[in-house]
């Protein structure tokens, strides 16, 4: 049902619209960052760094809008939850943009060499899943779909597991051929950034769940990021 006060209704829709816009921009930044990385495209990387400023500006604007609605309308119940959700999600999306920008910065750093294709496969695959997660969770937000949000949250385990195996893989490459160390180190950070993007998608999923139901997920989130426990023994 719509609000009796149409201006209020429009303000809430405007806020949701901002989040959708931020989501679209964040998705595009991440996708471009991966393209820039695989092609070592420095000019695309520069554009991503510039575009991230737009995302930051949008985040500030979203926050201002949300604060204004709270001040002027004293929102209650589902409206209040929706506004709190918008505040949280805009923060997550702003961080996603930062992580994409960080990948783009590394593109310029490793520009001097050609990355071996085999080093990239894992990172690309990881990015594919993270992007899908981001897309799905933004759809879940748009449709206020609690079930879809739950699916995203559960699937983050996949990213974590993949990241752990990628970590091992890159360590192995570095040990095999020390000349790849510089590239692999950068790629490791890129992989970590992508894994973090997955975490933000999970945060958003949890926020969508809160916005729809008013409660937090009751169960602990499944986790499989064991990279902090990984090491590769050198053969001596």
């Amino acid at each position: 049902m719509e609000h009796t006060v149409t201006a209020y209704e429009q303000e809430l829709r405007g806020l949701a619209g901002r989040i959708a816009e931020m989501g679209g921009l964040a998705e595009h930044l991440v996708a471009d960052a991966i393209v820039a990385l695989t092609r070592l495209d420095a000019s695309l990387a520069q554009r991503i760094i510039a575009d991230d400023l737009r995302l930051d500006a949008l985040q500030r604007e979203t926050e201002e809008r949300a604060i204004l609605i709270i001040a002027r309308r004293q929102p209650m119940a589902s409206d209040l939850r929706e506004i709190v959700a918008a505040l949280r999600i805009s923060n997550d999306l702003e961080r996603v943009g930062d992580l994409a920008k960080n990948i783009a910065k590394r593109v310029t750093a490793i520009n001097n060499a050609v990355i071996q294709k085999r080093l990239l496969v894992g990172v690309e695959h990881l990015a594919e899943i993270a992007l899908q997660q981001l897309k799905d969770v933004l759809d879940a937000y748009t449709n206020r779909d609690d079930n879809a949000a739950r699916v995203v949250r559960t699937r983050d385990e996949e990213i974590d597991a993949l990241y752990t195996s990628l970590f091992r893989e890159l360590l192995t490459y570095m040990m095999e051929d020390p000349r790849t160390i510089s590239q692999c180190a950068h790629l490791l950070f890129c992989a970590k950034n992508i894994e973090r993007i997955g975490d933000h998608a999970t945060n958003i999923a949890e926020t969508v769940h809160y916005s729809v139901t008013g409660t937090a997920f009751e169960d602990e989130r499944p986790k499989s990021d064991n990279s902090s426990l990984e090491s590769v023994e050198s053969e001596t």
């Binding site: 049902m1 719509e2 609000h3 009796t4 004293q74 209650m76 119940a77 589902s78 209040l80 008013g214």
Partner: protein, 276 residues
């Protein structure tokens, strides 16, 4: 205190604990299946609710939803309306307030009321507060009466503002002060329950804030039931909230729940301002 001794029964035997309240308390007023008819028209359709002791309970809902009608059942104010009929049961400290042997005058001393528009008597500030204790025989000497008046005014956070002009007419006070005078008048007869029917709707925001502050202080000693049109006010002052619609109690629960995640769709629509 001898007032209404006949309906003051022991509360210890009546220790129903309310959950999921933030602070579980015994039930002060227990209403079961309360129906009110004005002639042929039914205004209230079987309302069942427990009002916890020393807690502020807010009744909210659109105009004509029955919240004031229900409030007025608690001190039998509906008795004064010709053609009004009340069915069901209301227990105050486990005693039926509609029992035939009950003294309505004493009930109304135990269940005080504050109205929307401040309505001080056209008498002095002192007399406004002294009137109740005097007719109920609560003070034997002049000194005792003075003490009751002063403590009541103090409890109503008004004493400091009026202590130098107790003999001046109560009607000369500002609206907010008049309302607090009415609260002092209600307190003066040592009630257990204070009913408030939109006590702030005729007051400016500062006076409203003072009354709300007072309500918060009073709940340490009194059970308060407040009817309000301002949902923000209900959210601010109450610990429990009941939402009425078309003569039905739609939902009742801890205020924190009602205003963040109500269960019923109708409650949600009303408090978010989506009522058609």
């Amino acid at each position: 205190m001898t007032v209404a001794a006949d309906i003051k029964t022991d509360t210890s035997a009546f220790a129903t604990i309310r959950t999921p309240d933030l602070q579980p308390r015994p039930v002060k007023v227990k209403a079961t299946g309360v129906k009110v008819f004005y002639g042929a028209k039914q205004a209230l359709h079987g309302v069942t609710i427990d009002i916890p002791d020393r807690t502020v309970t807010a009744f909210i809902g659109p105009s004509g939803c029955g919240k004031s009608t229900f409030l007025r059942c608690f001190n039998r104010m509906n008795d004064t309306i010709v053609g009004a009929r009340v069915e069901g049961e209301i227990l105050l400290d486990n005693r039926n307030i509609y029992a035939p042997d009950l003294d309505v005058v004493e009930l109304r001393a135990r269940v005080g009321m504050v109205f929307q528009k401040p309505n001080p008597f056209p008498k002095s500030i002192f007399e406004n507060v002294a009137y109740g204790p005097r007719i109920h025989g609560l003070a034997r000497t002049k000194a005792e009466l003075e003490e009751v008046v002063v403590t009541s005014l103090q409890k109503a956070s008004l004493f400091n503002e009026v202590k130098d002009r107790l003999q001046e007419p109560g009607t000369g006070l500002s609206g907010g002060q008049q309302q607090r005078l009415c609260i002092a008048r209600a307190i003066a007869v040592s009630p257990d329950v204070i009913l408030m029917d939109e006590p702030c709707s005729a007051l400016d925001p500062i006076a409203t804030a003072k009354v709300e502050e007072l309500i918060d202080e009073l709940r340490a000693n009194y059970t308060i039931v407040i009817v309000t049109h301002s949902m923000q006010q209900a959210a601010r002052v109450s610990q429990r909230t009941a939402f009425f619609h078309l003569g039905h109690l739609v939902e009742e629960g801890p205020t924190n729940m009602i205003f963040t995640k109500p269960i019923e769709q109708r409650t949600q629509d009303y408090i978010t301002g989506r009522f058609g």
